[in-house]
Symmetry: C5
Subunit: 354 residues, 5 copies
Amino acid sequence: MAKVIKKSSDMAGLPPGTLIHIGEKRNKKPRITIFDYDEKAFEEKEVKTVEEAFPYRDKQTVTWINIDGIHDLELIRKVGEHFHLHPLVLEDIVNTAQRPKFEDFTDHMFLVFKMFYQLGDKGKIKEEQVSLILGSNFVISFQESEGDVFNSIRDRIRTSKGRIRKMKADYLAYSLVDSVVDGYFLVLEKLGENTEALEEEVMLNPSTETSQRIHHLKRKMISLRKSIWPLREIISSMQRGESKLIYKSTMIYLRDIYDHTIQIIDSIETFRDVLSGMLDIYLSSISNRMNEVMKVLTIIATIFIPLTFIAGIYGMNFQFMPELNWKWGYFACLLVMSVVAFSMLMFFKRKKWL
Amino acid sequence: MAKVIKKSSDMAGLPPGTLIHIGEKRNKKPRITIFDYDEKAFEEKEVKTVEEAFPYRDKQTVTWINIDGIHDLELIRKVGEHFHLHPLVLEDIVNTAQRPKFEDFTDHMFLVFKMFYQLGDKGKIKEEQVSLILGSNFVISFQESEGDVFNSIRDRIRTSKGRIRKMKADYLAYSLVDSVVDGYFLVLEKLGENTEALEEEVMLNPSTETSQRIHHLKRKMISLRKSIWPLREIISSMQRGESKLIYKSTMIYLRDIYDHTIQIIDSIETFRDVLSGMLDIYLSSISNRMNEVMKVLTIIATIFIPLTFIAGIYGMNFQFMPELNWKWGYFACLLVMSVVAFSMLMFFKRKKWL
Amino acid sequence: MAKVIKKSSDMAGLPPGTLIHIGEKRNKKPRITIFDYDEKAFEEKEVKTVEEAFPYRDKQTVTWINIDGIHDLELIRKVGEHFHLHPLVLEDIVNTAQRPKFEDFTDHMFLVFKMFYQLGDKGKIKEEQVSLILGSNFVISFQESEGDVFNSIRDRIRTSKGRIRKMKADYLAYSLVDSVVDGYFLVLEKLGENTEALEEEVMLNPSTETSQRIHHLKRKMISLRKSIWPLREIISSMQRGESKLIYKSTMIYLRDIYDHTIQIIDSIETFRDVLSGMLDIYLSSISNRMNEVMKVLTIIATIFIPLTFIAGIYGMNFQFMPELNWKWGYFACLLVMSVVAFSMLMFFKRKKWL
Amino acid sequence: MAKVIKKSSDMAGLPPGTLIHIGEKRNKKPRITIFDYDEKAFEEKEVKTVEEAFPYRDKQTVTWINIDGIHDLELIRKVGEHFHLHPLVLEDIVNTAQRPKFEDFTDHMFLVFKMFYQLGDKGKIKEEQVSLILGSNFVISFQESEGDVFNSIRDRIRTSKGRIRKMKADYLAYSLVDSVVDGYFLVLEKLGENTEALEEEVMLNPSTETSQRIHHLKRKMISLRKSIWPLREIISSMQRGESKLIYKSTMIYLRDIYDHTIQIIDSIETFRDVLSGMLDIYLSSISNRMNEVMKVLTIIATIFIPLTFIAGIYGMNFQFMPELNWKWGYFACLLVMSVVAFSMLMFFKRKKWL
Amino acid sequence: MAKVIKKSSDMAGLPPGTLIHIGEKRNKKPRITIFDYDEKAFEEKEVKTVEEAFPYRDKQTVTWINIDGIHDLELIRKVGEHFHLHPLVLEDIVNTAQRPKFEDFTDHMFLVFKMFYQLGDKGKIKEEQVSLILGSNFVISFQESEGDVFNSIRDRIRTSKGRIRKMKADYLAYSLVDSVVDGYFLVLEKLGENTEALEEEVMLNPSTETSQRIHHLKRKMISLRKSIWPLREIISSMQRGESKLIYKSTMIYLRDIYDHTIQIIDSIETFRDVLSGMLDIYLSSISNRMNEVMKVLTIIATIFIPLTFIAGIYGMNFQFMPELNWKWGYFACLLVMSVVAFSMLMFFKRKKWL
């Protein structure tokens, strides 16, 4: 989430539909896995060449072709050719700087969005672009690399848990998007925890780095919002667009994830409000501390400066200074000093500075 | 209202419609109460098993089934089965991190929202999720725990006060939502009192904690707004959605609570504006105080520093310092010091620092 | 305008349509005045009981029944019964915490809004709730207490000035709303004068209370906006709602007051912008003054601190300090001091601090 | 542009359509000029009484009646009567506090808006209200006083330059509005120049008055926006309203000035953003300067305070102070002082304060 | 991008459709190049006079006439005449202060927008206005000067790369706009890099100029947004307007660049949020540094001021000061001083100032 925009200028000047891989460079060969199922039968396999996946296009069963790796442009081009994908779609698939978007081509739909997932239990959160092609009886998903939030869906297909095996390809696509949205909750939770920790820090023990931490958290919020906001639009478009590809029974599920995206956006806005408030507190606590420092300086200085002046007077070497010769001069002088100090203290007390 | 988001990641990866109770854990057995009435007859009872409530579905009288406790997933599942509720509805009922929402399933409606109520007369304000199922002749309400804002409705049904016994289930559902909205006014009032108390504090006696109190109050406002805003949408959807379940005579009542939600939102926005203004005052009062402290320091220091310097000069031990031997040297020196101090004071007076 | 929300929680839990007077308690018996007129005839009278006003409902002439005092719930109930008003309307009439609203019941319209007026020529500005019932040939107005902005309308009816006597009840209702909107201009003007006075204060002579005054004025603006904004919606609804009660010839007048409400809202927004700007100036003028204080302190201190140090050196009592025995030691020392002071002054001059 | 709202309360309580001149009082008799033309013929004259202008209403040629001066209510009333204007229109014409508005009365249109123009080449910019009545073959324009932005239009009519003589009254009205919008560009440019000058001042040489200048410029922007924003609405209404009075060929010209108003609004928003940014810079430059002042104070004070203390020690008069009797005591003392001063300087260097 | 508005007042008072060149003055003769192609044939030539380009209007092949230089008003007028362009269009073409706009004249379309391009590889980014006329089989493009972002399109036409030779004039127009939008990404990237560099500067090493740099970057963002926002509207209008000039197959390409404009706008908003956040950090870091300076001053001053006072006491010359005669007086005095200094340090430690 570090960089706000990735390089898009590599593509400037190229004819539209030119495949240019924009994103982290990878050498690994893309991994292609296939899930093919209907209510009764189920098949799972990993294929070496993408051509092995092509026959599934014309089978009546639901097929999920998952491709981990979008840097092999030849592979993408073959898929595009076989499944009749528009060149712009292919361009979007391989461009990881792509803004989440949705395109409805009557016989198939194209979705591209960001996925957040955690590597292992304590791992760092990774961001990755996912593209989905939803046809009448297949879903093709493209990911940047291996590792995703779809394992539970794979398990559900294998064990026929839930209704997924009874439903069509549109439900599979919904399930994938749903898992991705659930991943956003995870990120949101982490940011929420950070926000609360930071809030405590601001209240109890603000340091110089606090404002920078607030800024970092704000940027992460902005970045997350930049991913979720268009995802909301995508789901909204899928609901409104009266495509034959999406069955009526799936509509309520789409409404459900739509509500989830709204909830995430709501929470992000709340966090941003809270973070703005924290900055105000931070600034006022800086001012307060400065005030306290100033008060101590003022009290010490204003008490001792006049006293030192008095001492200075009687440190002068004039030949004729009558007080110097008085017997109780010294003690009178100390007394005067005490009176001055005491009345200063009273003054501060009245001003409520002590 | 402490936590902005509750844990939602527990659900990540589960098939949609899986019942997972998200919320405070409770051991108590859910309490099920039934109110069954029409204009003439009335029956109130508490049942042990939810199955005892099932026959009411097919009676012509209006039935209100209230279930206090949503942690018993088996019970929820049974209710869902008998009343033909969608799995996603059941999932939403048991998920207390649910955003308020509304779903219209032709033969029944589903509403979920937040309720605020006070335990006892001086008790703390509690937040709880309430779900409503409105069928043609029944209302099922799910609450997190016992205790709610519905006692006056129970009394009205028992005593046949108002028009509730003459009306259908939609009026009952409206009455429940109305009571909940009235509960928001209660919270708003409390926050309003706190705001006014805080405003006085800011004006008269701002302390270090003031900015934190403003922040806390702001957060509570944000939290309340997060609950009321979608409730407004819910009521708006009920009005627009031309469901057979809601009779025309109830429409004006819905408009009425819609207006109430608008009024609450208006007030929250007003309070937020006021709180922002208070922060500005607070910050300017800190600056002002700092200014005052600085002025005192400056006045004391600038008067005595030159005087001390003069005293320092005549405290030097040079052998040949003619002034030291003058008879009136000491008094002349004191006079000069007085003149310097006096002209300093004049300078400050002209600068309006005194 | 002091309290942002008035107590609304008194009503919590009561059946909708229950009459509860929310507002300032009054003991005075409500005053009921009747104006009945058509182009030729005119009758004005004050009645003791509301029943005397009932026969006018069925007369063809235009009748304006004005009721000063809404605390007599029995009276309100009787009016409601005779004129077939909805219980929720009656509830809204007696609830002075009501948000301005508009309701169209085919055979009559209901409007409730806030009125601002000045008692006497130099009096304080009062806020009061006004409710209007517009029937086919009558207008009933409810006010909290005597005193309003309608005297010019009464005069126009009496003297048949303007077109009011030639028009129907809808024109009368329009005239009443128009007078109320004119009252808003009055308040706006007062706030405008205060804003300009405050602006001068901020520029020329900002004091500690200035920021509080800005805050107070801001709150008043917020409060006024809270009244005018829904009034705009009301007039907009009256224009759009194609009710038979409002004749086409009156439409242009409604558009006219609609434009006035827009103008008021525009001005309020402008004032708020200006007030926000004033706060910025105020804060920067505080900073500037602090800067000036600091500069004086710095100049005095940095000049005299080194000089005092030099004096301190030659005040030491070491036995062997050659300079002390030089003949011109003292004067050389004074010269060094002058050079130091002078170069300090030059330094400040170069820094543009002097 | 000084006053944000002008007195509107003078009108409170008067029947709608009452003519009250609100604006600067003038004694001069209104000046009435007439341009009457078609493609071939052209007549220009100045008339003494408004009645002389009346016959032009029924001529087929295009007639432009310009009236400089709206304080002669009798004249306005006569015009209104002869041209069948609505009383509210007359009220709006003479009320210079009127918000820009547009009203379509089938057989004529009414427009009122603000005009900005410069008296002479270096004169001050004046604001004036202009009202236009567009009939099928005439345009009546009302101005507050002589002097306007229409001279180039007069020239074009006289010399038959451009297409104005070939077009109908709607094109004349468009031309007038177009000239007025061009006048806004003039004002905008002046404000733009001021903004840039101020920006330079903020960067290079911010003074105490800078924040006040920013505030003044902001207010002027707000004021200009208050005039242009409703003008945009007016032009938009003219485009949408499918009046017979506006020919299709004129539509593209309306779109053109509509685009100009958008451009002006865009620029105003940009300037406001820039001005807000300038205030931030101003405040941070104040803080920076304060910082610098504080640093100098701190460096001088922290170096000399310890040195003065050391000098103070050896200025004490204790009888037994061994150092005083050492031969090199004085020089050792000076050495210690130098070491202290030097290490202080090193400390500041490390802190990057020097 | 330096000036926010360019002079538009030169045009004030001129009849609409008058050609006035507003922009940088140039003497060079405009350069006219022609690309004429269909799937099979291709012709490229540079012509001396614009008349040579006229015959292409009526050819069936796609023709792209590019004119570098809009200061030759006679040339523009000839083009306008031959291609039947509206006078307002010609006016817009030669006015480089024109806001980006779109106009659909059934038989041709007019687009005007801003282009950003880099001269050479490391050159400065230049802004230039581009106008496009899209007819049924031709595109005319007007640029301010030579140099643009269209070279890759020229190459594609020459080498028949991509689909451009197979498509109609609408695809050519799309390609030109697409190249321009790609140019925005370039600018955005540069601004993005500057933002990140500035962010690092703010975090690690904020200087006095930092706030000015933030301001400059903000202004550039505002300026870029001012160009891209109306471009988005243009593309949106082209999509919605059901013109015959744009074929259905081109629609998806328009949607694609529409998405790109949205992405650019999103990124600009993100950058603005980030820049605002940076200003907050900058201000808080100034406060923090001031705080640190103040603390050092306070610590040094509060430790030494009391010590100096003690030294001052025993520097007094009273005849009777018993301590002076004590044998261990001096050392006792030093001990007291150490104790005072030590307890001061403890106090600061407890306050966490050390």
